[in-house]
């Protein structure tokens, strides 16, 4: 897939913190996608990408299984088909950078550096989970790795991410915020309000639209009047560009460039990654509405399988090496399940522990059967 930019490519770093330049000229970058010769990444980096992508794949398969076994409740949205995007984006961030995502965030949690066991334990609703079992699939959080939350309300994370970038700007820190969202989410008011604010105040936040071409059952064309979503950045004089979300190195290149540019100048940007959703919207969705074509296209573009083939083709990995990585990923996913399953459920006595951070007089701490007086 061609990669294009609405504005000139941000120079990476170096320029020092400057204010948004409203009159930047337009530009266009075109670069081949598939069958790229790897440029720059070391074999170790490439193998690590593959390792992470495979781990996400295996982890999500186990999550689906856990859901079917009723070990996991609520809604469960998987990153199957988005592994290249997830790993490409996350490897562009420092651990100290902040990440806000939507509810489809298991892979991001893993790739941002949270132990798989803690991620699975959250799905299992255990105290060892990333949110101590309070959040579940849609609501993971980990200060140490900079995951500032998965959010279940469409668009809810966008103002928050903008605010985190405001805090960085306020304090003069050098972190960057990445805000992940879906294609369908570009149509909600919070997207508009936040991108305007981020551009107006020159805040270091990269908005990433993970375009998997569907919001539940709705195609991009049926939901967005401008279906080339990265172009919406124009409404805020913000840099926007699109990248092949099935290509982990292309995603990483674009994301790294925008992240480092934001770090240097404070300038926000909009990055669109285009890939496919391999399965339903959530585990329970049989996606009957999907055409065979769309399913076939998604399968053919499977980012894990194609990256594996490219690595083997180019000699970065041999069959045994790949198989070993896959075996290890499976073992890690299995271990995560075992860890989760062995972890304790939260105790009912903790029900009132997290209503308020500052204790307060007359806080209500009644169970349903308790009288008011």
């Amino acid at each position: 897939m061609a990669e294009t930019a609405t504005r000139s490519k941000p120079a990476s770093g170096g320029a020092g913190k400057t204010r948004r330049n409203g009159t930047r000229s337009s530009g266009k970058r075109v670069q081949t996608g598939a069958n790229n010769v790897f440029s720059g990444e070391s074999p170790d980096t490439l193998r690590d990408y593959f390792r992470q992508m495979t781990l996400i794949r295996r982890f999500e398969e186990r999550a689906a299984q856990g859901y079917t076994q009723a070990k996991i409740g609520g809604y469960c949205h998987l990153n199957l088909g988005e592994e290249a995007t997830v790993v490409g984006l996350m490897s562009a961030l420092r651990r100290s950078d902040y990440l806000f995502t939507n509810y489809r965030e298991h892979g991001y949690a893993l790739a941002k550096g949270i132990e798989p066991g803690r991620v699975m334990a959250e799905l299992y609703g255990r105290t060892s989970g990333t949110s101590k079992g309070w959040g579940g699939s849609m609501h993971m959080f980990d200060v140490d790795s900079g995951l500032l939350g998965g959010y279940g309300i469409v668009g809810g994370q966008i103002p928050l991410a903008t605010g985190a970038a405001l805090a960085i700007d306020y304090r003069g820190g050098d972190q960057v915020v990445m805000c992940q969202l879906g294609d369908g989410t570009t149509n909600i008011g919070a997207f508009h309000e936040s991108l305007n604010i981020a551009a107006l105040w020159n805040l270091p936040v990269i908005f990433v639209v993970v375009n998997n071409q569907l919001g539940m059952g709705t195609t991009v064309e049926k939901s967005s009047a401008e279906s080339e979503l990265y172009k919406r950045a124009v409404a805020y004089r913000m840099h926007g560009e699109r990248v092949d979300g099935n290509d982990v190195t292309a995603v990483n290149e674009a994301a790294s460039r925008l992240v480092e540019h934001a770090r240097a100048t404070g300038e926000p940007a909009l990055l669109e990654t285009v890939s496919h959703r391999l399965k339903g919207h959530s585990v329970v969705d049989p996606s009957k509405y999907r055409s065979q074509e769309s399913v076939d296209a998604a399968r053919a573009a499977d980012p894990v399988a194609t990256f594996r083939a490219r690595l083997i083709d180019s000699g970065v990995l041999d069959e045994d090496g790949a198989a070993e990585i896959e075996r290890q990923a499976q073992a890690d996913a299995d271990a995560a399940v075992a860890f989760a399953d062995d972890s304790p459920h939260p105790d009912v006595s903790t029900l009132f522990d997290y209503t308020y951070a500052t204790p307060v007089a007359n806080d209500s701490r009644r169970l349903p059967a308790d009288p008011v007086f």
């Binding site: 409740g73 079992g133 309070w134 579940g136 279940g152 369908g184 149509n187 059952g217 209503t355």
Partner: protein
């Protein structure tokens, strides 16, 4: 009489109303191609086409506002808000526009629209996806709010809501969609603003709406069977207007009451019920009105915590027992 699910009753009624009136159309997220998040609208896109079954972008404020604008022109949009939690994004259009337009312009323009939306916890959907915030609508003059608990009522109240010339918030509940009940061949539109004594009794009044009305029935049946306690159940059915007379009349007979509600206790729907009963049945009341409601916390995902936080047949039974003890009718 056919026994059908609450879901089916909603589906059938939507279909029938669309067949009966060209001005009725459906609008919402994922109601067409996806057939509805909870499949209420399954098959309707195929039958009626895109004009009558309109999938929208994810833009609650935009599409609800568009429905309001269309209703101002005399169309009868029936909007689906995927869950009541997401309705907050549209609240300005509902409270500041749909509810105000008739009065603010001196009665020149009515807004005949329905907003269907489910509330409810208990599905491990976590703090943001499990709320019961019907209060936000029930509080607002200019809106009407109905909350059926049975398939038959779902049908009768949906018919009435679509026929009504005011904006109606039609409250459903995730846990009710698969419940079943008898629905007559023809169902007349219900009268909005009326509660129902859905189970007569003498010893105590149990008041509920939506899911908790069905729980109230379970508890009442069990109390009768196992302990010979005769509980009267009042199903509110309409939260705005509120039928205080029916409540008070029941309590004048039973002399005590327990309210069962899925929302949070403090300032919840039950507060008005309790206040109204304490006022209207002041001389008849032999014990304080008891409320059984959700624990006041952001609802946790983990099953044991979620279970502890939500009202149930057990907690309602406890409250009934304790109230009967307080009035000296038990042990």
């Amino acid at each position: 009489m056919a026994v059908i699910t609450y879901r089916q009753a909603l589906h059938d009624t939507l279909r029938e109303e669309m067949l009966a009136d060209e001005d009725v159309f459906l609008i919402g997220e994922e109601i067409g191609v996806f057939e509805g998040s909870y499949k209420i609208t399954a098959g309707l896109l195929d039958e009626f086409g895109e004009k009558r079954v309109r999938d929208t972008p994810i833009a609650e404020e935009g599409f609800i506002g568009a429905a309001v604008g269309a209703a101002m022109q005399g169309l009868r949009p029936v909007a689906e808000l995927m869950t009541i939690n997401f309705s907050l994004i549209a609240l300005d259009q509902i409270v500041n526009h749909a509810a105000k337009i008739y009065g603010m312009f001196g009665g020149q323009c009515s807004v005949p629209m329905v907003m269907r939306t489910p509330g409810g916890g208990g599905q491990q959907l976590g703090a943001t996806h499990s709320q019961n915030i019907e209060l936000y609508y029930a509080f607002v003059p200019g809106l009407k709010v109905v909350a059926p608990s049975t398939p038959a009522d779902a049908k009768a109240l949906l018919r009435a809501s679509i026929a009504d010339n005011d904006p109606v918030l039609f409250l459903e509940n995730l846990a009710l969609y698969n419940t079943k009940g008898e629905v007559p061949e023809t169902v007349e539109p219900a009268e909005i603003g009326k509660a129902a004594v859905s189970r007569p009794g003498n010893d105590i009044t149990i008041i509920g709406y939506s899911r908790m009305a069905t729980v109230a029935h379970q508890v009442a049946d069990k109390l009768e069977d196992e302990e010979g306690i005769s509980a009267e159940v009042v199903d509110l059915r309409s939260l705005r207007p509120l039928d205080r007379e029916t409540l008070v009349e029941s309590v004048r007979k039973t002399n005590c009451a327990v309210i069962a509600e899925d929302d949070w206790l403090t300032y919840g729907i039950g507060a008005e019920i309790a206040a109204s009963i304490s006022d209207g049945a002041f001389d008849s009341l032999d014990a304080p009105v008891r409320r059984v409601a959700a624990a006041e916390v952001p609802l946790p995902y983990a099953k044991p915590l979620e279970r502890a936080a939500l009202p149930s047949a057990e907690s309602l039974t406890t409250a009934v027992h304790e109230t009967l003890e307080a009035v000296g009718r038990r042990r």
